[in-house]
Protein backbone atom coordinates (compact mmCIF):
# COMPACT_ATOMS: atom_id res chain seq x y z
CA UNK A 1 0.00 0.00 0.00
CA UNK A 2 2.71 2.43 1.05
CA UNK A 3 4.86 1.42 -1.88
CA UNK A 4 2.00 2.07 -4.24
CA UNK A 5 1.59 5.56 -2.81
CA UNK A 6 5.24 6.26 -3.25
CA UNK A 7 5.14 5.04 -6.80
CA UNK A 8 2.16 7.29 -7.31
CA UNK A 9 4.14 10.24 -6.10
CA UNK A 10 7.00 9.47 -8.42
CA UNK A 11 5.83 11.00 -11.64
CA UNK A 12 6.89 9.46 -14.94
CA UNK A 13 9.19 12.37 -15.74
CA UNK A 14 11.29 11.52 -12.72
CA UNK A 15 12.05 8.22 -14.37
CA UNK A 16 13.17 10.15 -17.35
CA UNK A 17 15.59 12.12 -15.20
CA UNK A 18 16.92 8.96 -13.62
CA UNK A 19 17.53 7.45 -17.04
CA UNK A 20 19.12 10.67 -18.23
CA UNK A 21 21.41 10.72 -15.18
CA UNK A 22 22.48 7.14 -15.75
CA UNK A 23 23.13 7.88 -19.41
CA UNK A 24 25.26 10.81 -18.41
CA UNK A 25 27.23 8.71 -15.94
CA UNK A 26 27.76 6.03 -18.54
CA UNK A 27 28.68 8.48 -21.25
CA UNK A 28 31.20 10.19 -19.00
CA UNK A 29 32.72 6.81 -18.39
CA UNK A 30 32.80 6.43 -22.14
CA UNK A 31 34.63 9.75 -22.43
CA UNK A 32 37.29 8.50 -20.09
CA UNK A 33 37.62 5.41 -22.18
CA UNK A 34 37.85 7.38 -25.43
CA UNK A 35 40.40 9.79 -23.94
CA UNK A 36 42.57 6.79 -23.35
CA UNK A 37 41.86 5.81 -26.93
CA UNK A 38 43.47 9.07 -28.02
CA UNK A 39 46.73 7.40 -27.18
CA UNK A 40 46.11 5.03 -30.06
CA UNK A 41 45.80 8.01 -32.39
CA UNK A 42 48.81 9.77 -30.91
CA UNK A 43 50.77 6.60 -31.41
CA UNK A 44 51.08 7.66 -35.05
CA UNK A 45 49.85 11.24 -35.18
CA UNK A 46 52.02 12.73 -32.43
CA UNK A 47 54.57 15.07 -33.93
CA UNK A 48 57.32 13.08 -32.23
CA UNK A 49 56.07 9.72 -33.44
CA UNK A 50 58.17 8.11 -36.12
CA UNK A 51 55.64 5.43 -36.85
CA UNK A 52 53.98 7.35 -39.68
CA UNK A 53 56.13 8.56 -42.50
CA UNK A 54 53.51 10.68 -44.16
CA UNK A 55 53.14 14.02 -42.44
CA UNK A 56 50.48 15.64 -44.60
CA UNK A 57 47.76 14.92 -47.06
CA UNK A 58 45.78 16.74 -49.70
CA UNK A 59 42.04 17.02 -49.29
CA UNK A 60 39.08 18.89 -50.61
CA UNK A 61 37.49 21.34 -48.24
CA UNK A 62 33.89 20.18 -47.83
CA UNK A 63 32.53 23.73 -47.72
CA UNK A 64 34.59 25.76 -50.13
CA UNK A 65 35.64 22.91 -52.41
CA UNK A 66 39.21 24.15 -52.41
CA UNK A 67 42.03 21.66 -52.45
CA UNK A 68 44.29 22.09 -49.46
CA UNK A 69 47.19 20.35 -47.86
CA UNK A 70 46.63 19.50 -44.23
CA UNK A 71 49.06 18.13 -41.73
CA UNK A 72 48.61 14.75 -40.15
CA UNK A 73 50.82 15.48 -37.15
CA UNK A 74 49.72 17.03 -33.89
CA UNK A 75 51.53 19.13 -31.31
CA UNK A 76 49.91 17.72 -28.17
CA UNK A 77 51.13 20.45 -25.90
CA UNK A 78 49.73 23.20 -28.09
CA UNK A 79 46.52 21.28 -28.60
CA UNK A 80 45.97 20.86 -24.85
CA UNK A 81 45.65 24.65 -24.59
CA UNK A 82 42.90 24.91 -27.18
CA UNK A 83 39.16 24.91 -26.68
CA UNK A 84 38.98 21.18 -27.48
CA UNK A 85 42.19 20.20 -25.77
CA UNK A 86 40.59 19.15 -22.48
CA UNK A 87 40.82 15.58 -21.23
CA UNK A 88 37.19 14.76 -21.88
CA UNK A 89 37.50 15.20 -25.63
CA UNK A 90 38.31 12.25 -27.81
CA UNK A 91 39.81 12.56 -31.26
CA UNK A 92 36.87 10.57 -32.58
CA UNK A 93 34.41 13.10 -31.13
CA UNK A 94 35.19 15.31 -34.12
CA UNK A 95 36.92 12.97 -36.54
CA UNK A 96 34.35 10.30 -37.16
CA UNK A 97 34.87 6.83 -35.84
CA UNK A 98 37.33 4.52 -37.47
CA UNK A 99 35.21 1.39 -37.24
CA UNK A 100 34.53 1.26 -40.96
CA UNK A 101 37.95 2.50 -41.86
CA UNK A 102 40.02 -0.22 -40.32
CA UNK A 103 42.42 -1.85 -42.62
CA UNK A 104 43.17 -5.52 -42.18
CA UNK A 105 46.66 -4.60 -41.12
CA UNK A 106 45.95 -1.55 -39.00
CA UNK A 107 49.30 -1.82 -37.32
CA UNK A 108 51.06 -1.99 -40.65
CA UNK A 109 49.19 0.37 -42.90
CA UNK A 110 47.10 2.51 -40.58
CA UNK A 111 43.47 3.24 -41.18
CA UNK A 112 41.94 4.07 -44.50
CA UNK A 113 41.77 7.74 -45.29
CA UNK A 114 38.00 7.95 -45.35
CA UNK A 115 37.37 9.98 -42.23
CA UNK A 116 34.39 12.22 -42.61
CA UNK A 117 35.03 15.96 -42.59
CA UNK A 118 34.74 17.61 -39.21
CA UNK A 119 31.23 18.79 -38.51
CA UNK A 120 31.20 21.45 -35.81
CA UNK A 121 27.48 22.00 -35.94
CA UNK A 122 25.35 18.88 -35.98
CA UNK A 123 26.05 17.43 -32.55
CA UNK A 124 27.72 20.18 -30.56
CA UNK A 125 27.49 23.75 -31.76
CA UNK A 126 24.02 23.82 -33.24
CA UNK A 127 22.92 26.88 -31.23
CA UNK A 128 25.51 29.43 -32.37
CA UNK A 129 25.44 27.94 -35.86
CA UNK A 130 21.69 28.44 -36.17
CA UNK A 131 22.00 31.89 -34.63
CA UNK A 132 24.73 32.72 -37.09
CA UNK A 133 23.09 31.26 -40.19
CA UNK A 134 19.80 32.99 -39.50
CA UNK A 135 21.40 36.32 -38.63
CA UNK A 136 20.80 39.36 -40.80
CA UNK A 137 24.54 39.64 -41.28
CA UNK A 138 24.63 36.30 -43.09
CA UNK A 139 21.41 37.02 -45.01
CA UNK A 140 22.88 40.28 -46.22
CA UNK A 141 26.06 38.52 -47.24
CA UNK A 142 24.09 35.96 -49.23
CA UNK A 143 22.08 38.71 -50.88
CA UNK A 144 25.29 40.43 -51.92
CA UNK A 145 26.85 37.17 -53.11
CA UNK A 146 29.57 37.29 -50.48
CA UNK A 147 31.17 34.12 -49.19
CA UNK A 148 29.63 33.42 -45.82
CA UNK A 149 32.43 32.57 -43.39
CA UNK A 150 32.47 29.07 -41.98
CA UNK A 151 33.09 28.28 -38.30
CA UNK A 152 36.75 27.67 -38.98
CA UNK A 153 37.32 31.00 -40.66
CA UNK A 154 36.76 32.85 -37.41
CA UNK A 155 37.56 30.17 -34.88
CA UNK A 156 40.63 28.82 -36.59
CA UNK A 157 44.02 30.24 -36.06
CA UNK A 158 47.24 28.57 -35.19
CA UNK A 159 47.41 24.94 -35.97
CA UNK A 160 47.97 22.06 -33.63
CA UNK A 161 48.25 19.98 -36.72
CA UNK A 162 51.83 20.80 -37.62
CA UNK A 163 51.35 22.25 -41.06
CA UNK A 164 54.00 23.63 -43.36
CA UNK A 165 51.71 26.66 -43.54
CA UNK A 166 52.35 27.29 -39.89
CA UNK A 167 50.05 29.81 -38.37
CA UNK A 168 47.65 30.02 -41.26
CA UNK A 169 46.18 26.56 -41.02
CA UNK A 170 42.65 26.94 -39.69
CA UNK A 171 42.50 24.07 -37.27
CA UNK A 172 43.55 25.32 -33.89
CA UNK A 173 40.29 26.24 -32.26
CA UNK A 174 41.17 28.79 -29.62
CA UNK A 175 39.15 29.52 -26.54
CA UNK A 176 36.86 32.52 -26.98
CA UNK A 177 38.79 34.53 -24.37
CA UNK A 178 42.19 33.68 -25.87
CA UNK A 179 43.89 36.96 -26.86
CA UNK A 180 45.09 35.37 -30.07
CA UNK A 181 41.56 34.39 -31.04
CA UNK A 182 40.34 37.89 -30.22
CA UNK A 183 43.14 39.40 -32.28
CA UNK A 184 42.44 37.15 -35.28
CA UNK A 185 38.75 38.05 -35.30
CA UNK A 186 39.69 41.72 -35.79
CA UNK A 187 41.52 40.74 -38.97
CA UNK A 188 38.65 38.46 -40.00
CA UNK A 189 36.04 41.22 -39.65
CA UNK A 190 38.43 43.77 -41.11
CA UNK A 191 39.03 41.72 -44.23
CA UNK A 192 35.58 42.84 -45.42
CA UNK A 193 34.92 45.90 -43.24
CA UNK A 194 38.13 47.66 -44.17
CA UNK A 195 36.93 51.16 -43.43
CA UNK A 196 35.55 50.16 -40.07
CA UNK A 197 38.82 48.51 -39.14
CA UNK A 198 40.79 51.59 -40.20
CA UNK A 199 38.54 53.91 -38.19
CA UNK A 200 38.58 51.55 -35.19
CA UNK A 201 42.37 51.89 -35.23
CA UNK A 202 41.95 55.67 -34.85
CA UNK A 203 40.21 55.18 -31.57
CA UNK A 204 41.48 54.46 -28.08
CA UNK A 205 40.43 50.80 -28.15
CA UNK A 206 41.80 50.12 -31.61
CA UNK A 207 45.17 51.67 -30.93
CA UNK A 208 45.78 49.37 -27.95
CA UNK A 209 44.76 46.25 -29.90
CA UNK A 210 46.96 47.43 -32.79
CA UNK A 211 49.90 47.17 -30.43
CA UNK A 212 49.02 43.52 -29.93
CA UNK A 213 47.09 43.67 -26.65
CA UNK A 214 43.82 41.87 -27.15
CA UNK A 215 42.98 40.53 -23.71
CA UNK A 216 39.36 40.76 -22.62
CA UNK A 217 40.17 44.16 -21.08
CA UNK A 218 40.39 45.77 -24.53
CA UNK A 219 37.35 45.49 -26.80
CA UNK A 220 37.64 43.88 -30.22
CA UNK A 221 34.89 44.00 -32.87
CA UNK A 222 32.68 41.28 -31.42
CA UNK A 223 32.70 42.67 -27.88
CA UNK A 224 30.55 45.55 -29.10
CA UNK A 225 28.89 44.17 -32.24
CA UNK A 226 28.02 40.70 -31.04
CA UNK A 227 29.35 37.30 -31.93
CA UNK A 228 27.01 35.12 -33.94
CA UNK A 229 24.12 37.54 -34.21
CA UNK A 230 25.51 40.69 -35.73
CA UNK A 231 22.94 43.39 -36.33
CA UNK A 232 23.36 46.77 -37.95
CA UNK A 233 23.93 49.44 -35.32
CA UNK A 234 20.83 51.28 -36.55
CA UNK A 235 18.65 48.44 -35.27
CA UNK A 236 17.53 48.95 -31.68
CA UNK A 237 18.12 45.29 -30.74
CA UNK A 238 21.76 45.44 -31.85
CA UNK A 239 24.36 45.32 -29.10
CA UNK A 240 25.27 48.87 -30.10
CA UNK A 241 21.66 49.82 -30.88
CA UNK A 242 19.76 52.22 -28.68
CA UNK A 243 18.24 49.48 -26.52
CA UNK A 244 21.50 47.83 -25.54
CA UNK A 245 24.33 50.27 -25.99
CA UNK A 246 24.44 51.52 -22.39
CA UNK A 247 24.65 47.94 -21.18
CA UNK A 248 27.29 47.06 -23.78
CA UNK A 249 29.56 50.01 -22.94
CA UNK A 250 28.76 49.57 -19.25
CA UNK A 251 30.16 46.06 -19.22
CA UNK A 252 33.61 47.69 -19.14
CA UNK A 253 32.93 51.33 -18.23
CA UNK A 254 31.01 51.11 -14.97
CA UNK A 255 28.11 53.59 -14.75
CA UNK A 256 28.15 54.35 -18.47
CA UNK A 257 25.51 56.98 -19.14
CA UNK A 258 23.44 58.13 -22.09
CA UNK A 259 25.93 60.87 -23.01
CA UNK A 260 28.93 58.59 -22.66
CA UNK A 261 27.59 56.10 -25.18
CA UNK A 262 27.35 58.84 -27.83
CA UNK A 263 31.12 58.53 -28.20
CA UNK A 264 32.22 57.96 -31.80
CA UNK A 265 33.97 54.59 -31.90
CA UNK A 266 34.83 54.86 -35.60
CA UNK A 267 36.20 58.36 -36.22
CA UNK A 268 36.31 59.20 -39.92
CA UNK A 269 39.19 61.66 -39.46
CA UNK A 270 41.41 59.87 -41.95
CA UNK A 271 38.67 58.90 -44.37
CA UNK A 272 38.90 61.02 -47.51
CA UNK A 273 35.39 60.02 -48.54
CA UNK A 274 33.93 61.69 -45.48
CA UNK A 275 35.64 64.95 -46.40
CA UNK A 276 34.36 64.61 -49.96
CA UNK A 277 30.77 64.16 -48.75
CA UNK A 278 31.22 67.10 -46.42
CA UNK A 279 32.49 69.32 -49.24
CA UNK A 280 29.71 68.16 -51.55
CA UNK A 281 27.15 69.04 -48.87
CA UNK A 282 28.67 72.51 -48.51
CA UNK A 283 28.61 73.00 -52.29
CA UNK A 284 25.00 71.90 -52.60
CA UNK A 285 23.88 73.95 -49.61
CA UNK A 286 21.48 76.07 -51.68
CA UNK A 287 19.86 73.10 -53.35
CA UNK A 288 19.74 70.84 -50.34
CA UNK A 289 20.28 72.61 -47.00
CA UNK A 290 19.10 69.54 -45.08
CA UNK A 291 22.12 67.49 -46.18
CA UNK A 292 24.56 70.00 -44.74
CA UNK A 293 22.56 70.35 -41.53
CA UNK A 294 22.71 66.58 -41.17
CA UNK A 295 26.47 66.63 -41.70
CA UNK A 296 26.97 69.42 -39.16
CA UNK A 297 24.95 67.51 -36.60
CA UNK A 298 27.08 64.44 -37.20
CA UNK A 299 29.70 64.28 -34.40
CA UNK A 300 32.22 63.11 -37.01
CA UNK A 301 32.31 66.60 -38.51
CA UNK A 302 33.75 68.26 -35.40
CA UNK A 303 36.30 65.45 -35.06
CA UNK A 304 37.40 66.02 -38.65
CA UNK A 305 37.67 69.78 -38.14
CA UNK A 306 39.77 69.31 -34.99
CA UNK A 307 41.98 66.83 -36.82
CA UNK A 308 42.55 69.11 -39.81
CA UNK A 309 43.16 72.06 -37.48
CA UNK A 310 45.85 70.08 -35.70
CA UNK A 311 47.49 69.07 -38.95
CA UNK A 312 47.59 72.79 -39.77
CA UNK A 313 49.06 73.67 -36.36
CA UNK A 314 51.70 70.96 -36.76
CA UNK A 315 52.64 72.11 -40.25
CA UNK A 316 52.75 75.80 -39.25
CA UNK A 317 54.77 75.21 -36.09
CA UNK A 318 57.39 73.02 -37.65
CA UNK A 319 57.89 74.99 -40.82
CA UNK A 320 58.27 78.26 -38.92
CA UNK A 321 60.22 77.10 -35.91
CA UNK A 322 62.14 74.57 -37.93
CA UNK A 323 63.31 77.31 -40.23
CA UNK A 324 64.03 79.57 -37.27
CA UNK A 325 66.17 77.08 -35.41
CA UNK A 326 68.01 76.00 -38.52
CA UNK A 327 68.79 79.61 -39.44
CA UNK A 328 69.88 80.27 -35.86
CA UNK A 329 72.08 77.22 -35.95
CA UNK A 330 73.72 78.21 -39.21
CA UNK A 331 74.19 81.78 -38.05
CA UNK A 332 75.96 80.51 -34.95
CA UNK A 333 78.22 78.28 -37.04
CA UNK A 334 78.93 81.20 -39.35
CA UNK A 335 79.92 83.45 -36.45
CA UNK A 336 82.15 80.78 -34.98
CA UNK A 337 83.78 80.28 -38.35
CA UNK A 338 84.43 84.01 -38.73
CA UNK A 339 85.81 84.13 -35.22
CA UNK A 340 82.97 86.15 -33.77
CA UNK A 341 81.96 83.37 -31.40
CA UNK A 342 82.48 83.53 -27.70
CA UNK A 343 85.95 82.02 -28.05
CA UNK A 344 87.43 85.35 -29.09
CA UNK A 345 85.40 87.26 -26.51
CA UNK A 346 86.97 85.02 -23.95
CA UNK A 347 90.32 86.46 -24.85
CA UNK A 348 89.63 90.06 -23.99
Amino acid sequence: MKLKMILHLVKPRYFFYIILASVMVISSRAAVITAAENETCYGCHDKNSEKMEKTEKARIDPVTGEIEVVSLKIDREAFSLTAHGGEDFACTDCHSSLEDAEDEDLEENGHKPNLKPVDCVTFCHDDPAAEFNESKHVKLMKENNKDVPTCKECHGGLTYHLSPYGEEAPMYVLRATDPLHRKLTIDACGSCHEEHLASYRNNAHGQVTALGHTTTEVPVCFDCHGKHTILNSSEPESKVGQDNIIETCGSCHANANASFVKHVEHPQIKNLNYYKTLLAAVKNYRKDPEALKKMVKNPQTILCIVFVAYLGILAMTFTKFGLHSLLGWFATVRDEYRGKGHSDEEQH
Binding site: V208, P267, I302, S325, T332, E336
Partner: protein
Protein backbone atom coordinates in the same frame (compact mmCIF):
# COMPACT_ATOMS: atom_id res chain seq x y z
CA UNK B 1 94.58 82.76 -18.01
CA UNK B 2 90.97 81.77 -18.49
CA UNK B 3 88.38 83.93 -16.83
CA UNK B 4 86.64 81.65 -14.40
CA UNK B 5 83.90 83.96 -13.14
CA UNK B 6 80.51 82.24 -13.05
CA UNK B 7 77.05 83.66 -12.61
CA UNK B 8 73.93 82.00 -11.29
CA UNK B 9 71.27 81.76 -13.95
CA UNK B 10 68.86 79.18 -12.51
CA UNK B 11 68.13 78.70 -8.83
CA UNK B 12 67.96 75.22 -7.35
CA UNK B 13 64.15 75.37 -7.43
CA UNK B 14 64.04 76.00 -11.17
CA UNK B 15 66.63 73.34 -11.88
CA UNK B 16 64.58 70.89 -9.85
CA UNK B 17 61.40 71.84 -11.74
CA UNK B 18 63.17 71.37 -15.08
CA UNK B 19 64.45 67.99 -13.95
CA UNK B 20 60.98 66.97 -12.79
CA UNK B 21 59.58 68.08 -16.15
CA UNK B 22 62.21 66.05 -18.02
CA UNK B 23 61.46 62.88 -16.07
CA UNK B 24 57.70 63.19 -16.39
CA UNK B 25 57.88 64.27 -20.03
CA UNK B 26 59.97 61.28 -21.01
CA UNK B 27 57.71 58.99 -18.99
CA UNK B 28 54.72 60.34 -20.87
CA UNK B 29 56.30 60.33 -24.32
CA UNK B 30 57.82 56.86 -24.09
CA UNK B 31 54.55 55.27 -22.98
CA UNK B 32 52.21 57.42 -25.07
CA UNK B 33 53.98 57.66 -28.39
CA UNK B 34 53.56 53.95 -29.25
CA UNK B 35 49.79 54.46 -29.23
CA UNK B 36 50.00 57.30 -31.73
CA UNK B 37 52.36 55.31 -33.97
CA UNK B 38 50.61 51.99 -33.38
CA UNK B 39 51.17 50.67 -36.87
CA UNK B 40 54.96 50.54 -36.66
CA UNK B 41 57.15 47.79 -35.31
CA UNK B 42 59.21 50.11 -33.15
CA UNK B 43 56.05 51.34 -31.45
CA UNK B 44 55.18 47.80 -30.42
CA UNK B 45 58.70 47.22 -29.19
CA UNK B 46 58.66 50.42 -27.17
CA UNK B 47 55.24 49.64 -25.72
CA UNK B 48 56.38 46.19 -24.64
CA UNK B 49 59.56 47.70 -23.17
CA UNK B 50 57.36 49.64 -20.77
CA UNK B 51 55.26 46.65 -19.85
CA UNK B 52 52.55 46.80 -22.50
CA UNK B 53 48.90 47.08 -21.56
CA UNK B 54 48.02 48.05 -18.86
CA UNK B 55 51.45 48.67 -17.24
CA UNK B 56 52.52 51.31 -19.79
CA UNK B 57 49.22 53.05 -19.09
CA UNK B 58 49.94 53.13 -15.37
CA UNK B 59 53.42 54.58 -16.03
CA UNK B 60 51.76 57.17 -18.27
CA UNK B 61 49.33 58.19 -15.52
CA UNK B 62 52.02 58.30 -12.83
CA UNK B 63 54.12 60.51 -15.12
CA UNK B 64 51.06 62.69 -15.67
CA UNK B 65 50.71 63.11 -11.90
CA UNK B 66 54.39 64.11 -11.79
CA UNK B 67 53.69 66.72 -14.47
CA UNK B 68 50.75 68.02 -12.43
CA UNK B 69 53.07 68.21 -9.43
CA UNK B 70 55.69 70.17 -11.42
CA UNK B 71 52.95 72.50 -12.66
CA UNK B 72 51.62 72.91 -9.14
CA UNK B 73 55.10 73.73 -7.83
CA UNK B 74 55.58 76.30 -10.57
CA UNK B 75 52.31 78.10 -10.00
CA UNK B 76 52.66 77.88 -6.20
CA UNK B 77 56.09 79.50 -6.56
CA UNK B 78 54.61 82.24 -8.77
CA UNK B 79 51.76 82.80 -6.33
CA UNK B 80 54.12 82.90 -3.36
CA UNK B 81 56.39 85.48 -5.02
CA UNK B 82 53.70 87.66 -6.52
CA UNK B 83 51.04 87.68 -3.83
CA UNK B 84 52.91 87.05 -0.61
CA UNK B 85 56.42 88.36 -1.15
CA UNK B 86 55.00 91.10 -3.42
CA UNK B 87 57.94 90.77 -5.81
CA UNK B 88 57.75 92.90 -8.96
CA UNK B 89 58.72 92.13 -12.52
CA UNK B 90 56.73 88.98 -13.22
CA UNK B 91 54.41 90.58 -15.71
CA UNK B 92 56.52 93.41 -17.07
CA UNK B 93 60.17 94.09 -17.60
CA UNK B 94 63.24 92.10 -18.52
CA UNK B 95 62.63 89.32 -15.99
CA UNK B 96 59.08 88.60 -17.15
CA UNK B 97 58.36 85.43 -19.12
CA UNK B 98 55.54 87.22 -20.92
CA UNK B 99 56.12 88.81 -24.32
CA UNK B 100 57.29 92.43 -24.15
CA UNK B 101 57.50 95.19 -26.79
CA UNK B 102 61.28 94.75 -26.97
CA UNK B 103 60.79 91.18 -28.17
CA UNK B 104 59.55 92.54 -31.50
CA UNK B 105 62.88 94.38 -31.95
CA UNK B 106 64.73 91.23 -30.87
CA UNK B 107 62.91 89.19 -33.52
CA UNK B 108 63.76 91.75 -36.22
CA UNK B 109 67.36 91.92 -35.02
CA UNK B 110 67.61 88.16 -34.95
CA UNK B 111 66.32 87.83 -38.52
CA UNK B 112 68.87 90.42 -39.62
CA UNK B 113 71.55 88.37 -37.90
CA UNK B 114 70.35 85.17 -39.60
CA UNK B 115 70.64 86.89 -42.96
CA UNK B 116 74.07 88.23 -42.14
CA UNK B 117 73.11 91.91 -42.28
CA UNK B 118 73.47 92.62 -38.60
CA UNK B 119 75.09 91.55 -35.36
CA UNK B 120 73.44 89.14 -32.94
CA UNK B 121 71.00 91.21 -30.83
CA UNK B 122 71.95 91.87 -27.21
CA UNK B 123 69.30 89.77 -25.54
CA UNK B 124 68.18 90.28 -21.98
CA UNK B 125 67.42 87.58 -19.44
CA UNK B 126 64.85 85.80 -21.62
CA UNK B 127 65.18 85.55 -25.38
CA UNK B 128 61.90 85.68 -27.28
CA UNK B 129 62.03 82.03 -28.34
CA UNK B 130 62.67 80.99 -24.74
CA UNK B 131 59.54 82.88 -23.78
CA UNK B 132 57.67 81.16 -26.57
CA UNK B 133 58.88 77.76 -25.39
CA UNK B 134 57.88 78.57 -21.83
CA UNK B 135 54.43 79.80 -22.84
CA UNK B 136 53.83 76.85 -25.14
CA UNK B 137 54.90 74.51 -22.35
CA UNK B 138 52.33 76.13 -20.06
CA UNK B 139 49.62 76.10 -22.71
CA UNK B 140 50.51 72.58 -23.84
CA UNK B 141 50.46 71.25 -20.30
CA UNK B 142 47.02 72.71 -19.71
CA UNK B 143 45.69 71.22 -22.96
CA UNK B 144 47.28 67.83 -22.33
CA UNK B 145 46.13 67.76 -18.70
CA UNK B 146 42.54 68.67 -19.58
CA UNK B 147 42.23 66.20 -22.46
CA UNK B 148 44.18 63.55 -20.56
CA UNK B 149 41.84 63.79 -17.59
CA UNK B 150 38.82 63.49 -19.90
CA UNK B 151 40.35 60.32 -21.35
CA UNK B 152 41.21 59.04 -17.89
CA UNK B 153 37.66 59.60 -16.55
CA UNK B 154 35.42 59.57 -19.64
CA UNK B 155 32.29 58.38 -17.83
CA UNK B 156 32.50 61.06 -15.16
CA UNK B 157 33.14 63.84 -17.67
CA UNK B 158 30.32 62.88 -20.00
CA UNK B 159 27.90 62.68 -17.09
CA UNK B 160 27.69 66.47 -16.94
CA UNK B 161 27.04 66.83 -20.69
CA UNK B 162 23.41 66.72 -21.83
CA UNK B 163 22.64 63.95 -24.32
CA UNK B 164 21.55 66.44 -27.01
CA UNK B 165 24.98 68.08 -26.89
CA UNK B 166 26.88 64.81 -26.56
CA UNK B 167 25.30 63.48 -29.76
CA UNK B 168 26.89 66.36 -31.73
CA UNK B 169 30.02 67.08 -29.69
CA UNK B 170 31.87 63.89 -28.86
CA UNK B 171 33.96 65.18 -25.97
CA UNK B 172 36.12 62.08 -25.35
CA UNK B 173 36.61 61.70 -29.11
CA UNK B 174 37.76 65.30 -29.46
CA UNK B 175 39.93 64.90 -26.38
CA UNK B 176 41.65 61.88 -27.90
CA UNK B 177 42.45 63.66 -31.17
CA UNK B 178 43.73 66.76 -29.38
CA UNK B 179 45.70 64.66 -26.88
CA UNK B 180 47.32 62.64 -29.66
CA UNK B 181 48.32 65.49 -31.96
CA UNK B 182 49.22 67.94 -29.21
CA UNK B 183 51.48 65.16 -27.87
CA UNK B 184 53.17 64.72 -31.23
CA UNK B 185 53.50 68.50 -31.45
CA UNK B 186 55.06 68.71 -27.99
CA UNK B 187 57.36 65.73 -28.42
CA UNK B 188 58.68 66.78 -31.82
CA UNK B 189 58.97 70.40 -30.66
CA UNK B 190 61.04 69.50 -27.62
CA UNK B 191 63.19 66.94 -29.44
CA UNK B 192 63.99 69.22 -32.35
CA UNK B 193 63.36 72.93 -31.74
CA UNK B 194 64.14 73.00 -28.02
CA UNK B 195 67.17 70.76 -28.46
CA UNK B 196 68.56 72.80 -31.34
CA UNK B 197 67.85 76.15 -29.66
CA UNK B 198 69.58 75.26 -26.44
CA UNK B 199 71.55 72.06 -26.32
CA UNK B 200 72.69 71.23 -29.82
CA UNK B 201 74.14 74.62 -30.74
CA UNK B 202 77.74 74.23 -31.90
CA UNK B 203 78.91 76.16 -28.86
CA UNK B 204 76.90 74.04 -26.40
CA UNK B 205 77.08 70.57 -27.90
CA UNK B 206 76.02 68.17 -26.52
CA UNK B 207 74.13 69.84 -23.67
CA UNK B 208 73.80 73.26 -22.14
CA UNK B 209 74.77 72.28 -18.61
CA UNK B 210 73.49 75.57 -17.28
CA UNK B 211 69.98 74.20 -16.68
CA UNK B 212 71.47 71.43 -14.51
CA UNK B 213 74.29 73.25 -12.71
CA UNK B 214 72.52 76.60 -12.79
CA UNK B 215 75.74 78.45 -13.66
CA UNK B 216 77.14 80.12 -16.74
CA UNK B 217 80.60 81.51 -17.29
CA UNK B 218 81.12 85.21 -17.81
CA UNK B 219 82.07 84.61 -21.44
CA UNK B 220 78.87 82.64 -22.12
CA UNK B 221 76.84 85.26 -20.31
CA UNK B 222 78.29 88.09 -22.38
CA UNK B 223 77.94 86.16 -25.60
CA UNK B 224 74.38 85.00 -25.06
CA UNK B 225 72.76 87.84 -23.14
CA UNK B 226 74.92 90.91 -23.34
CA UNK B 227 71.81 93.02 -22.72
CA UNK B 228 71.22 91.44 -19.34
CA UNK B 229 74.91 91.53 -18.45
CA UNK B 230 75.19 95.23 -19.12
CA UNK B 231 71.88 95.98 -17.43
CA UNK B 232 72.98 94.18 -14.26
CA UNK B 233 76.32 95.96 -14.40
CA UNK B 234 74.52 99.29 -14.72
CA UNK B 235 72.20 98.45 -11.86
CA UNK B 236 75.24 97.31 -9.84
CA UNK B 237 73.61 93.91 -9.25
CA UNK B 238 76.06 91.85 -11.24
CA UNK B 239 78.19 90.90 -8.26
CA UNK B 240 75.21 89.46 -6.39
CA UNK B 241 74.90 86.78 -9.11
CA UNK B 242 78.54 85.73 -8.90
CA UNK B 243 79.00 82.12 -7.84
CA UNK B 244 81.76 79.57 -7.69
CA UNK B 245 82.19 77.58 -10.90
CA UNK B 246 80.28 74.28 -11.06
CA UNK B 247 82.17 71.32 -9.71
CA UNK B 248 83.53 68.80 -12.17
CA UNK B 249 81.20 66.25 -10.63
CA UNK B 250 78.12 68.43 -11.23
CA UNK B 251 79.16 68.92 -14.84
CA UNK B 252 79.78 65.21 -15.27
CA UNK B 253 76.49 64.29 -13.62
CA UNK B 254 74.49 66.68 -15.75
CA UNK B 255 76.00 65.21 -18.89
CA UNK B 256 75.45 61.70 -17.61
CA UNK B 257 71.75 62.45 -17.20
CA UNK B 258 71.21 64.69 -20.18
CA UNK B 259 73.12 62.96 -22.96
CA UNK B 260 71.18 59.66 -22.87
CA UNK B 261 67.91 61.59 -22.71
CA UNK B 262 69.03 63.75 -25.60
CA UNK B 263 69.89 60.68 -27.66
CA UNK B 264 66.57 59.05 -26.73
CA UNK B 265 64.72 62.14 -27.87
CA UNK B 266 66.61 62.30 -31.14
CA UNK B 267 65.96 58.61 -31.82
CA UNK B 268 62.26 59.08 -31.12
CA UNK B 269 62.01 62.08 -33.39
CA UNK B 270 63.82 60.29 -36.20
CA UNK B 271 61.41 57.37 -35.82
CA UNK B 272 58.48 59.78 -36.01
CA UNK B 273 59.92 61.49 -39.06
CA UNK B 274 60.57 58.13 -40.70
CA UNK B 275 56.95 57.20 -40.00
CA UNK B 276 55.87 60.43 -41.70
CA UNK B 277 58.09 59.66 -44.69
CA UNK B 278 56.75 56.11 -44.94
CA UNK B 279 53.21 57.45 -44.76
CA UNK B 280 53.88 60.12 -47.36
CA UNK B 281 55.44 57.65 -49.77
Amino acid sequence: MKNNTNYLRFTLFHRFCHFLTIISFFGLVLTGLPLAFRGYGWARWLYELFGGYPTAGYIHRISALLTFFAGFLHFAWLFFNISIKKKKGFFWGPNSMLLQPRDIFDVIGDIKWFLGIGKRPNFDRWIYWEKFEYLSLMWGTIVMAATGLILWFPVQFTKVIPVSVASIVDVPGIALIIHRYEAILAAVFIFTIHFIHTHLLPEKMPVDECIFTGRITEAEFKHERLGEYERLKRQKQLDSYKVAPPSLFAKFLSRLVAVPLLITGLILVSLMVSALVVWAL
